[in-house]
Symmetry: C2
Subunit: 280 residues, 2 copies
């Protein structure tokens, strides 16, 4: 495995087929070898806009980005953040246009891989599997977000995000100390979570005052991960419980399907039970 310049490259979807080795150009390479162009971005730069033809995908080498979706009626919302190793613009379902805009949250660096190259690579089963897995992960992320925004209280949502960011941080650099730098503004966080920036700010302060975290501006350290997880699970304060899903009819078996965890903060604390279904 070549170890390319940026540490994030080892997590990149294209890592195995990328020819931008810091070492030798990898002479006789069997399969496709990418020599992607590199682009530098400055804070606020738009990598691509929603609706524009998806001609290129952009593996993120360094920095970070946000994805902004605009609904048909003009409502905008941040749908996610990307960190080094993620691939910006990787459209699911072979969508011909970008489904959302991508904007650099800080000075960043991306590679530019033409979709034709991507298409070629996709015929290789191994790569294809990996790419599809990435897309599935993204989709799952959005679903978790939907549920969070749709049925969890503000503190839970924020706790979720913090734990997620910490997890991603750990997955990249090995850092286990909960130190992280928020590349995004309070407004971005608020948009993602369906809150206002004031609420986000207040909650961060509250979390800090209770000793869960330490924050100063965009510098944040998680002091009590278990406490945050507890809040995320809704065990704090108001005794939140997963909403029963008021369906009328009956369901066959009564076992609960345990969805595979792992996306957007692993389910450490067991679901607070209360999982009844109306019997037939």
């Amino acid at each position: 495995m070549p170890d390319h310049g940026a540490p994030a490259c080892s997590l990149c979807l294209f890592h195995a087929v990328c020819g931008v080795a810091a070492t030798a150009p990898t002479p006789a390479s069997p399969g496709t070898r990418l020599r992607p162009e590199r682009l530098r971005l400055r804070t606020g730069d738009v990598v691509f806009r929603q609706g524009r033809p998806a001609l290129t995908v952009y593996p993120l080498r360094a920095g970070s980005a946000k994805h902004v979706y605009q609904s048909p009626l003009g409502w905008r919302q941040v749908t996610g953040f990307s960190l080094p190793g993620d691939v910006l613009g990787l459209e699911p379902h072979e969508a011909p246009q970008h489904g959302a805009a991508a904007i650099a949250l800080q000075d960043s660096e991306v590679c530019a891989v033409p979709v034709e190259s991507l298409r070629e690579l996709m015929v290789a089963p191994a790569f294809r599997i990996a790419a599809l897995a990435v897309m599935r992960r993204n989709a799952e992320r959005e679903r978790v977000l939907l549920v969070a925004v749709g049925s969890m209280k503000a503190p839970q949502r924020l706790a979720m995000l913090l734990l997620d960011l910490a997890g991603e941080q750990a997955r990249r650099h090995g850092r286990q100390d909960g130190t992280l730098t928020l590349a995004m503004s309070r407004a971005d966080i608020a948009s993602l979570l369906g809150l206002t920036l004031e609420t986000v700010s207040r909650l961060l302060s509250r979390f800090a005052s209770v000793g869960l975290i330490a924050v100063r501006q965009r510098r944040l350290r998680i002091i009590d991960p278990a406490g945050l997880a507890s809040i995320y699970a809704g065990l704090e304060g108001g005794a939140q419980r997963p909403a029963r899903e008021g369906n009328p009819g009956a369901e066959f078996a009564r076992d609960d399907d345990v969805p595979e965890p792992g996306v957007l903060v692993a389910a450490e604390s067991p679901p607070p039970a209360v999982r009844r279904e109306a019997a037939h």
Copy 2:
């Protein structure tokens, strides 16, 4: 084009390749010909559960269904409703397991198409395009829902759903009178929209009292579509405006990308403007 038994068949993804013609079995058929098994469902029946292997897809011939997603922590939420012509269990990204459960909202009927058949069909460009388009549409739906739940008020969300249901209704049967039967309970609607069933009930009553709709139990008629659209757009009461997306830096061009409308209620009323971006 064969006209199969159910009227919804003409909208089915598999329509062109389906051999279940009410007429003759279509003797010498060139490409793949499906003879899908048919299944009857009763209210509340689980078509498939989240996490279970996705071995079959179920085109919905008659009736309706809801999709229920359970997050890793056990929170459940309705993520969408399906009407005749939709395909239940069509997993994006070739997911090997169902990403959500599907539950019949009423006595319904589905076809059962093995995924192997689906895979075979997917090699045909025409079918492949169509299938991907369906998946994209589903994904776009969820995004619109995310934005709605994340940043719109309760009345807007409900108005959106009603308009959407009416639109789907019209797309199937030609009925242009806004008469529709809500197959789902108030709780299901509430879950989808991130509200409580009481709020849904109250809003329906309020809509009715203002003459926008007429409701009696699950019987509903849209009297003033424009009024609902106006509420959806947020032009009523509180002067809602699409939230500015508080991003810090600059953006290159200043033109707004107009996303292709059409999913989950077309954008009839133009976005209320106010689309400024911070200059650099």
